[in-house]
Symmetry: C2
Subunit: 156 residues, 2 copies
């Protein structure tokens, strides 16, 4: 990526902006928008979801938060309520992010969530939409990890 970018920049001096920019963009993966969105979502995951700091949630989540998890009401208040409830039921619950994929205003987290250290846990994907520096929409898919597998790769 770095080499391609530098090469395309050398083109700039000789062949003009359009070609050089096209080559530079061709080498791009995540841009600064995606990087900022990832940081917001990972901070939210660490501080609010793992840390249980529901008072910090407004720093990351819009009041109008659209919720697609069928067990959680819409809005910032709905999110804070479920985090309080989950932390009360499982104070040692913890989620480890295994993959982060971002494009445009969407950030995907693929995670392993456990209620405690003995729990086999759940495989989970959360998709967040970020706009104006806040998370405005959320989808998730959650599956208990089975006891056995026909391959040796784990679910992560």
């Amino acid at each position: 990526m770095y080499v391609s970018t530098v090469s395309s920049l050398r083109l700039t001096a000789r062949f003009g902006t359009a070609l050089a920019c096209a080559a530079a963009m061709a080498a791009a993966t995540a841009g600064p928008v995606e990087d900022a969105n990832k940081k917001l979502v990972l901070d939210f995951h660490q501080i609010v979801l793992n840390g249980g700091d529901v008072e910090a949630a407004p720093n990351y989540v819009a009041n109008s938060y659209v919720q697609h998890n069928p067990k959680v009401p819409d809005g910032l208040a709905g999110l804070q309520g479920i985090v309080r409830e989950l932390r009360k039921g499982a104070p040692d619950a913890h989620s480890v992010v295994k993959h982060v994929v971002a494009e445009g205003d969407l950030v995907v987290l693929h995670s392993h969530t456990q209620r405690n250290a003995q729990d086999r846990g759940m495989a989970q994907v959360d998709i967040f939409r970020v706009r104006g520096g806040k998370i405005v929409e959320h989808w998730d898919v959650i599956q208990p990890i089975p006891e056995t597998s026909v391959n040796t790769n784990t679910m992560f």
Copy 2:
């Protein structure tokens, strides 16, 4: 990376081009690598998974395919076996992709999968790793859609 790129731009081209390129890259979302990976994965989804054309699978999937779904054996043959089995058990099964998110060598599909038109179905996320023009690794998380929800947004 972004800082490095901008620095290189400033060092390499000392005129207005650098700023124009930096602005263009800042606006970039998916690049052509991600676009090509998305096309490969969506074609695979449509032709092999929805279409049941297991003979076409080698056009999309590497022999060494690493499988993280705990019910499916590793490799191209493992994939072909499960597609045959699923199509036999539910010949009208169909999956509709709701979101596609790609970054680097990963492509994420968020989908609604139904065994038939009457089935409430499953929410599903598949993550594919693409290398050398083939899918080389796959993870998924699958959840039955519940009958009721506390919000009106659906799981998609």
